[in-house]
Symmetry: D2
Subunit: 345 residues, 4 copies
């Protein structure tokens, strides 16, 4: 059994990790920590665990490094980069669900986020978008687990960018997320009556997932990509839908574009291309690690419109983190992740 | 008192009309009709009217034309154009909430909808977007009341188009609507458990409000506008949010763009520009006739992003229809429409 | 115009009051105060008021007493009883939306709540359940506006208690409330993702509305009533449904019971008895001052089951407060309150 | 592997069964049938199965009896009793999720439902409430899988009834269910905008789960139990909460009552008693087979109030059906059912 430590286990993504590891046939959580609830039994925080006996511990990453095979970090940005160092990495694999090890361009990181405290380690971190970077992940000591919006957005556009089928300057991603994306921290906008029965955009032209999407698509394109990304908050718990717009570089047919997607994704278990004329809905991936992708050509404007859907807590956070663990430890990638979406839920 | 007839009073837009007219100080509903519920008392269809005594009647537009000052039509497209003729219009004002009298380009209408049965009358119909066409509406016999998505989209972009500040070929409108937009007719996708807790796009690159938005923006631009429009369904009852993207023609500042909006909307009671840095949310217009508009400049991409919000049943349907009635009958425009948004609701 | 002051205008009930007074033809808000937002413009707290120019002021009840005809208090319990005194009451009418002036039994108040600081004034306060206490309210200086659950529960059971048709020891009220009932204060259980898609009971056998219901039903019965009351939280914004159970004292027919309800409520505009076989739903009273009541006899068990529905922010708080104002100032009771329920919303 | 057939696989309970069997380590679905979608691939009905290749077949129970080890029936009442006969039962185990084999009292069945067509078989059917009837289920050919409300209600009250701690004539069950309980069939009340943001009671004093609860509690009591049962519809997808009231026969303490629950449930994996002062919420059992039960004593009225919570599609339907399969085939009861509740979802 892979011995797992989870730091930050009482946020939504942390809890999803606890759940997935609990049900994983080859891994078990040996330590889970929480800053807010240290010393409390876990089921006082999440009553769904009443039949289990987890206790929230104080974080002690040194000790965990000795006892665990892998540590998942589910922490605010800027915190992980302070905790990780070479000694830790010599003892344990790190999968960071935060932003600190996702961007290789340190200037970009520090512009959009904050000071980075592990600049020496950053270069060896791999961006854990499994379907794209699988081979680079193997053997690594540290994985920067992708953001939720970014996972959905990059996978939706990757084949088109890689195959140079779209005008890179024309990309617009209009994304919609359920409220778990906003986390468990209290704030008036996330109070039930404030969020319910309404929709809004937020962090327009300024959301931190923008440079992450751009960096990865730039690698794919072999040139710098700059794009517009607008997140919206939807009155539902889980799910991200990304509606992506771009001008086609040629008079491509549906079949041409489909061929590009199939070239990259045909063997990807967790990526499902929808039938022609059918488009993703977040409910069809809820509680699963799937990424559903569909597209159409807007003949009148010469644009392709691609829709991607994921469960933000699953493929967009904890599920992909487990997928990365599976890769790191040589397990079949879908081990412990092969869930049919739960519906209606 | 203005004597009002409502044909199609048991759909969601029809019912909202009944409600608004009931509370209107200068108008009263004398006849309301329903194909599905003829003969039934209205509160069997909508129990909220239990203290009233409306009865659904069989539609008889000839009789209504004799008895009413204005008839509102809330009917599926293609039906209104069969019912209206010159004799009717000689006796009564018509405000059509459907699509039949919105598009002046008959070819476009018949391509996107169906055969038009009142081609002779169409030229005199006015597009009832009150803030833009107020002067043209006065004195008309027939008004094509704008669609919900179109009202929100056109008003969000009008000043930029009119002032030639944006690249017309770059316009993308990504719109989100509550479920009342899908109407009261039964269908599996609108069943509670199918729609709840999920988000999806639909009629991608093919929604019928596209040509309506294009026709009106083309008038404003003085040239043909072709754009991308993508509607999404949100798990909530009311509200439309339109997120509009366009390339700026120049290096405009926030103030430049704001000036354009103020030029057209400063005296418009029902259009509210949000403060800089604040963006519309549908909850802040719910149950009201307001259109909230906010925007930002995405410096990195040279785009302006405009967000508009309306209540789809109110400003997007029944409220605007009443606003048109007020114009036609020389009342102050906000008569019977001056509601503070209801919140939380 | 009646000059209105509102203390605590930024809570949900306070805001609903602002809205109703804004639209009231005979009253206007001259001062609104907020502890949390003093000095801020009101539309920064509630963007729906962007076209208005209210500013939140520091509370100064002395000054308000000089300038206003009536002051509404929307404050936590225990605060109002400190603010009100004989001098204030000599200058201005007080309508308290909190609990401090609802219970006449001071021992009961202090057991369920806290120390009472206006014991001298309490005896002259009237319990503002308009349909029952209308005549006692007229001419009073201070009104204790009833609680939301209590309004719905008492009105649902009053005729049966008054007519001695039920076994008083058998009363059980199982109530369900939307989340606005929990207020705008931040707390984890009212965070969107925690409350959404779940239902729970809370304060079981210990909710403070219990003694309030009991005191009023005891007046009606002419003897002490003790009952079980269980509130539940429902994932929706507004509305209370009370499902009330009691053993019938006799083999009454539906008509017998209906006659009792009609005896007390036939002339009550805001109380609507549903048709036989039809039962209240909260949606049919939303955004209105109506109380819908329906009942059935469970022949097998000898019980009557009465269902009542109100909008908790309207008839359960702000609407009833305005109704009390109308009574105090000699206006027709439904002035400014005669709204058709808004649906779907 | 146990070979499974599912008749009625496209309803909500049927689909949940398909999902659970798909993920069950010792069972596999060999045939699934659907009246409405015969011939269609299953993922056209439920897109969540896009990576699978199930096809909906025409029902042929004879053929299925030859090919399967167990057949689950998820059919409207009155249909199952026509399909099952002795020949079928000689070849295959039957687990019926409908009502036809739940009630042993045929008069009661025919009064509340319809004509029964397998009166000869009924006596050997066992009521599949696993925690109560485990030993009776083993070796049986046919199981009547309990209803959703009934599972929750009976398990909530069983120890109190069995131990004669409550007045049997005083039982009232006020239950709240999510909308999946209403099924996938189209009807206006289950349309999104009609059900959303509202709560109502329905089938008051006349819901068909009443006699089912009564029959089982009567067995436990050793005498006839008659009770009041009121179901309510809640705007959420999944979950049932039962709030149960009864007069205590004695001056029992919390500990006394807890002891009774522990006597029956201490070794029950799927029944979790909440800590004193903590009460069940449906979210904490969602997506799991757990039954959470909590209670308090209302000292003032002498009543005990018991709250039970289940996931209506899981323990209330498909999960319990699989639990019954596990019992019938000698597997550990929690095989394929040991899920942590999914949250937030």
């Amino acid at each position: 059994m892979i011995k797992v430590g989870i730091i930050g286990a009482t946020g939504y993504a942390g809890q999803e990790l606890v759940r997935l590891i609990e049900q994983h046939p080859k891994a078990e959580t040996v330590t889970l920590t929480s800053q807010s609830y240290a010393g409390e039994s876990y089921d006082k925080v999440y009553s769904g665990y009443a039949h289990k006996s987890y206790v929230c511990e104080e974080e002690d990453i040194e000790k965990m490094a000795d006892e665990c095979d892998v540590i998942f970090l589910a922490l605010p940005h800027g915190v992980a980069s302070k905790k990780v160092n070479n000694d830790i990495l010599n003892k344990v694999k790190i999968i960071d669900l935060g932003a600190d090890f996702r961007l290789q361009d340190i200037e970009v990181y520090e512009k959009w986020y904050t000071t980075h405290y592990s600049k020496d380690i950053l270069p060896e971190a791999v961006y854990g978008l499994c379907e794209i970077n699988r081979d680079k992940i193997k053997g690594k000591r540290i994985v920067g687990n992708p953001g939720c919006y970014t996972t959905c957005s990059i996978l939706s556009l990757y084949p088109l960018v890689k195959e140079k089928m779209i005008d890179l300057s024309s990309i617009i991603i209009d994304a919609k997320s359920g409220a778990t994306g906003a986390g468990r921290g209290l704030s008036l906008p996330n109070h039930y009556c404030e969020l319910n029965e309404s929709v809004k955009a937020y962090k327009i032209a300024s959301h931190r997932h923008t440079p992450e999407i751009e960096e990865q698509l730039s690698y794919a394109a072999g040139e710098k990509v700059v794009l517009s990304f607008t997140p919206h908050l939807i009155p539902m718990d889980r799910g991200i839908l990304a509606t992506c717009y771009a001008l086609l570089n040629n008079n491509y047919s549906y079949a041409d574009i489909r061929r590009a997607y199939e070239k990259y994704y045909d063997n990807e278990y967790f990526i499902r291309l929808t039938r022609e004329g059918v488009f993703p809905e977040t409910k069809w991936v809820k509680g699963s690690n799937f990424v559903d992708i569909g597209f159409t050509i807007d003949e009148r404007t010469g644009r392709v419109i691609v829709i991607g859907a994921i469960d933000n807590l699953f493929k967009g956070a904890a599920g992909q983190a487990v997928q990365n663990m599976n890769i790191l430890f040589g397990l079949e990638e879908k081990t412990g992740l092969d869930y049919i979406p739960i519906f209606p839920a």
